[in-house]
């Protein structure tokens, strides 16, 4: 299957890459705010681990979906 002249899997791969970059940027921004201005380091750390685990799970699902399409 093609989309605007490119194989669809390539487009989906690029979107996964964009998602990884976006998640990284968000994680850095969250980390900066939570650890600089947050009241409790344990709460900030728990939130960061939860965010990263959730994001990794969802990006992993996206990645393996494109893998299944090959």
């Amino acid at each position: 299957m093609e989309f605007i002249g490119f194989p669809l899997t390539t487009i989906l791969d690029i979107v996964v890459l964009i998602a990884v970059v976006a998640a990284t940027i968000y994680a850095v921004m969250f980390g900066y705010h939570w650890f600089t201005f947050g009241s409790n380091r344990t709460t900030s750390m728990t939130a960061m681990v939860t965010f990263l685990l959730g994001a990794m799970l969802l990006i992993g699902a996206m990645f393996f979906s494109t893998y299944a399409l090959r």
């Binding site: 989906l12 979107v15 998602a19 976006a22 998640a23 968000y26 921004m29 969250f30 705010h33 939570w34 201005f37 947050g38 009241s39 709460t43 939130a47 965010f51 959730g54 994001a55 969802l58 990006i59 699902a61 996206m62 979906s65 494109t66 299944a68 399409l69």
Partner: protein, 195 residues
């Protein structure tokens, strides 16, 4: 402690600190959950209603695309939930024996820290608006301060506003009566005010 993040004056101590009411973040998370489930419910509904147009075999063929799209959707919702939680977590109302400090995180890299001295407090009222606010006991505190602009200090969705107001008024009265309260400068002005 939250007070570690606030530059307190010498001998100034924190009387109470509070965040917005838990319902404030719970409502946003509930909304995010509804948004997260929306595509799944829509697809399931369409599959049930238009079973002939969307047979199981067709859905099975596109299962990888559906998983991909739904994961991307959930990722956006995930970002939204944590952005909302950041705004909740970093908004703090602090009452010290000298000041009220309101920290408001409005967005990434947009932080507003407002404070006013208890000596400047002229009038204060709270507002509990709505059924849920009444049942869960949260509301908005308004404080009018003496100043050139007569500006109003406003903190929204605070839990137990009645008790908080009483706490602030007690602290303000104590501050006004304290003999060493001249550090702010405005106590003397208020004391000499003919009103």
């Amino acid at each position: 402690m939250i007070s570690d993040k606030i530059q307190l004056e010498e001998n100034e101590y924190v009387l109470t600190q509070t965040r917005r009411h838990w319902f404030s973040i719970a409502a946003k998370i509930a909304l995010a959950c509804i948004i997260a489930l929306l595509p799944g419910i829509t697809l399931l509904g369409m599959h049930t209603i238009f079973a002939e147009m969307l047979p199981d075999a067709l859905l099975a063929n596109y299962a990888a695309y559906i998983t991909y799209g739904y994961s991307a959707w959930l990722l956006l919702v995930w970002f939204g939930i944590f952005t909302a939680w950041t705004n909740y977590y970093l908004d703090v109302f602090t009452l010290t024996d000298r000041r009220i400090i309101l920290t408001n995180q409005k967005g990434f890299f947009w932080r507003n820290v407002a404070s006013f001295r208890l000596e400047r407090l002229q009038d204060m009222h709270y507002e509990i608006n709505g059924l849920l606010a009444t049942m869960l006991d949260y509301g908005t505190i308004h404080a009018e301060t003496a100043g050139h602009s007569d500006d109003e200090f406003r903190a929204t969705e605070l839990p137990h506003p009645r008790e908080l107001k009483a706490h602030i008024m007690t602290a303000s009265d104590k501050r006004y009566d304290r003999p060493d309260a001249t550090t702010a400068g405005s106590v003397d002005e208020r004391a000499s005010d003919p009103e």
